[in-house]
């Protein structure tokens, strides 16, 4: 991407040698997210998924790169654009898809929907529908790590639109003040619904938003999984060594509309096509795999087939799983004291 990092220079691919296995892993993980989202879009079109459904297509390198830098013990929390994050933390595609269709087999037993899913087991803490609300919540998760002396980090994702919410700065201040192990991952996909960053932010450099609190920030090519991973590792190292929060601005792009019913008329077709053709995160890794003789076209096809099969299975489960029992209406409101 065209943006030149200003403060800290993002690591480029050249100085980051990922192993062949790693590259194959990222390829597969990103492809799973993409195929999953395409399928979700299709099921939405069939009326099987209701309400709001925000797809992550185009942004796959962000969460896959960050998870590559994190450990399984670290926490993840994000907004409503959350399917990719769930798959990247290892949550089961079938359980996620069944939540999208509002079925018993979903992670929230059909009571959360596309925007509200959680997995304590995978340290995934949602799934939040109020723009910006996850930022103090994620900071609180980091607070609990510090309180208990656990050497974990909370990956707290937010959009470029969310950075303008006041509570984000309240959280930045406390995180810096109390040196909490939290990484604020700003997924700058250039738009908050139909409002471009130019139109919503007085300064385009969102990684500098922590400057007033002394929080280091980096701008990263969020379409390049290896650059994300490298920056993620620096951020994780910073947090784990007790130095407090870190901000990563991951410049990325969403290919689809904001949600399923958004025709995305606020941007040009050329802009989208250019991103897809020149910066696609999956194609980028594909090229590395082929050019590096790590795998051939036939091998890639096999991976595609496996991923497709996994997604097809998830979609089938999501359609066959029954709607939640009516008794579920009244469960999980309070815990028995």
């Amino acid at each position: 991407m065209a943006t030149t990092p200003k403060r800290k220079r993002g690591t480029t691919r050249a100085d980051n040698q990922a192993s062949s296995d790693d590259l194959l892993k990222y390829y597969r993980e990103m492809l799973l997210i993409r195929r999953f989202e395409e399928k979700a879009g299709q099921l939405y079109g069939m009326g099987l998924i209701g309400g709001f459904c925000h797809l992550y297509i185009g942004q796959e390198a962000v969460v896959v790169g960050m998870q590559a830098a994190a450990s399984n013990e670290d926490g993840v929390i994000t907004s409503y654009r959350d399917h990719g994050h769930m798959l990247a933390t290892g949550m089961d595609a079938a359980g996620v898809m069944a939540e999208l269709t509002g079925r018993e087999g979903g992670y929230s037993r059909g009571k959360g929907g596309s925007m509200h899913m959680f997995s304590k087991e995978k340290n995934f803490y949602g799934g939040h529908g109020i723009v910006g609300a996850q930022v103090p919540l994620g900071t609180g998760i980091a607070f609990s790590y510090k309180y208990r002396g656990e050497n974990k980090v909370c990956m707290t994702y937010l959009g470029d639109g969310a950075v303008n919410q006041g509570q984000v700065y309240e959280a930045f201040n406390m995180a810096a003040l109390w040196q909490l192990p939290v990484i604020y991952c700003i997924e700058n996909n250039q738009y908050a619904m139909g409002t471009s960053t130019q139109r919503h932010s007085s300064s385009p450099d969102l990684y500098e938003r922590g400057k007033a609190y002394g929080i280091p920030g980096e701008q990263v090519d969020g379409m390049d999984v290896l650059a994300v991973k490298a920056a993620g590792e620096r951020a994780v190292e910073h947090c784990r060594s007790g130095k407090g929060p870190y901000i990563l601005e991951l410049k990325t792009y969403r290919y689809r509309g904001h949600s399923m019913s958004d025709p995305a008329k606020y941007r040009t077709k050329d802009e989208l096509d250019k991103m897809r053709k020149e910066h696609d995160p999956i194609d980028m890794v594909k090229k590395l795999l082929i050019d590096g003789d790590i795998i051939d076209e036939a091998g890639l096809k096999d991976i595609d087939k496996e991923v497709k099969a996994e997604v097809a299975k998830a979609a089938e489960f999501a359609q066959n799983s029954p709607e939640p029992d009516v008794s579920e209406l009244f469960t999980d409101i309070l815990i028995d004291a």
């Binding site: 059909g110 949602g126 799934g127 103090p136 025709p263 008794s327």
Partner: protein, 484 residues
């Protein structure tokens, strides 16, 4: 089998649309993500992308066709190993696919399921039966979570005199001693010892890891504390006053109260939001408001409002131990008042149980927080006039102790509610409904509500007194329902 491409619904409400344009023709190869068609809905033109890869075998619907139903087959894609002959077996049906779930079907299944739904599992909901008819309870009130064993301070033998302020502090200190996960957070709670000195001494005993001064950041620290509660910590979050919690109400309701439900029971939130609520004295409109009905409105929260020091001690300990988010409404004017408190570390009061502060036979007066004292004073005056008033201290507002209220009304046949907050959608309105639903045949007069006047709180001493419920208002209301 060739892959069917269906007319997609592009919004939650779309049932049909115009197939404006094909961007591909038969024989073209397509891959996932390729735009194959444009569709017009009532709102916008949208692109349709291929989800599968292959060759376009047949375009079933012509470009320009209007009113194409959602889920109708619009094209077939041949997979890699298929040729056109695979299309021989497919009938180009113009009917929407049955196995998909069009909006209509969804609706009817919804109706069905609400038919089967239990009327209500929650204890204080209106008794609407599955058939939709109102059940009128003639004898016993509907089964509530049974809380007949009155567990209150009377069962203790040793007491000490304490202010409400000290009782609150002791409750926190005792729970902090017994559970490492409990911590106190808020503005001025540590070094300053509390804006109202409620957290006095806690910093000394527990240190700054567990008694934490925050910046003036209600929205932020409420979200932060809520996030830590998702992880199993047990924050006691002090709002300098509940007026400032309006900054944070999104986190209290959308995050703390709803996440257990949204997560299918996975993420609990054991947190206490506490601080002074309601009018203090001469602090004007922005610092004098009762939030009881705001929070009591919301499922997923419990709302507690102590009056005496014993209430404060026993209920705050219960609130800290409770695995749910609790809004704990104190009152600044009560902080300095002294009461007898059981001298026992294990003294805990049950949440969800009201207390009959004074027994009577002619009229029931239901009050909470500072209004309990006013109700008791009114009861004295009523006694002098030959009216025997029963005074109920609600202690908990949600879940409401319907049993205690209804039993009392069945005995006295008359009901007065008292609250500092405004009448519209107030706690009194809820209690009046409860009486109507559960004890309609026992009421000998319409329920009377004594509430704050329907105005922002004025500053002038005389006007402020006029805006707030006084003993005299309660006496007048009680006499009115007794037709005296």
């Amino acid at each position: 089998m060739p892959i069917e491409v269906l007319m997609p619904a592009l919004s939650p409400t779309m049932t049909e649309g115009t197939l404006a344009k094909w961007n591909v023709k038969e024989g073209d190869t397509v891959a996932s993500g390729d735009v194959i068609a444009e569709i017009e809905t009532d709102k916008a033109t949208m692109e349709v992308e291929a989800v599968d890869e292959g060759t376009i075998g047949k375009l079933v619907i012509e470009a320009g066709t209007e009113n194409v139903a959602v889920n109708q087959v619009i094209a077939y894609i041949l997979e890699e190993d298929e040729d056109a002959s695979a299309l021989d077996n497919v009938s180009a049906s113009s009917e929407p696919k049955k196995d998909a779930a069009p909006a209509k079907e969804e609706e009817s299944s919804k109706e069905e399921s609400s038919d089967k739904a239990p009327a209500s599992a929650s204890s204080n909901a209106a008794p609407v039966s599955a058939s939709g008819a109102i059940e009128r309870s003639d004898a016993e009130p509907r089964a509530m979570s049974v809380m007949n064993a009155t567990q209150d301070e009377k069962t203790y033998t040793s007491f000490k005199t304490q202010t409400v302020r000290e009782a609150l502090r002791d409750a926190m200190a005792e729970e902090m001693r017994s559970d490492e996960n409990v911590f106190v957070m808020g503005e001025e709670v540590a070094q300053y010892q509390g804006a109202y000195k409620v957290t006095q001494g806690l910093l000394d005993e527990f240190g700054d890891k567990r008694v934490i001064d925050t910046p003036i950041t209600e929205h932020g620290f409420t979200g932060l504390a809520t996030g830590s509660a998702f992880m199993g910590l047990k924050p006691v979050l002090e709002f300098m006053t509940f007026n400032f919690a309006m900054q944070a109400i999104d986190q209290i309701i959308n995050s703390a109260a709803k996440t257990l439900y949204m997560s299918g029971g996975q993420l609990g939130c054991p947190i206490v939001f506490r601080g002074p609520n309601g009018a203090a004295s001469r602090v004007g409109a922005q610092h004098s408001q009762c939030y009881a009905s705001w929070y009591a409105h919301c499922p997923g929260l419990k709302v507690v409002a102590p009056w005496s020091a014993a209430d404060a001690k026993g209920l705050l300990k219960a609130a800290i131990r409770d695995p749910n988010p609790i809004v704990f409404l104190e009152n600044e004017i009560m902080y300095g008042q002294s009461f007898e408190v059981p001298d026992d570390e294990d003294f805990v009061l049950p949440i969800g149980q009201a207390k009959i502060e004074r027994e009577g036979t002619d009229v029931t007066i239901v009050a909470f927080s500072i209004m309990v004292g006013k109700a008791l004073k009114a009861a004295e005056q009523l006694a002098e006039q030959g009216i025997s008033a029963e005074v109920i201290n609600l202690r908990t507002i949600r879940p409401l102790d319907v049993n205690t209220i209804v039993r009392s009304v069945m005995k006295t046949n008359r009901l007065v509610t008292v609250e500092e907050g405004w009448h519209f959608s107030g706690i009194g309105a809820e209690i009046a409904s409860v009486a109507m639903e559960h004890a309609f045949d026992y009421l000998d007069a319409p329920v009377a509500r004594v509430t704050g006047e329907d105005v922002p709180m004025p500053y002038a001493a005389n006007l402020e007194a006029l805006a707030l419920p006084q003993d005299s208002h309660i006496v007048a209301a009680a006499k009115a329902v007794c037709y005296r």
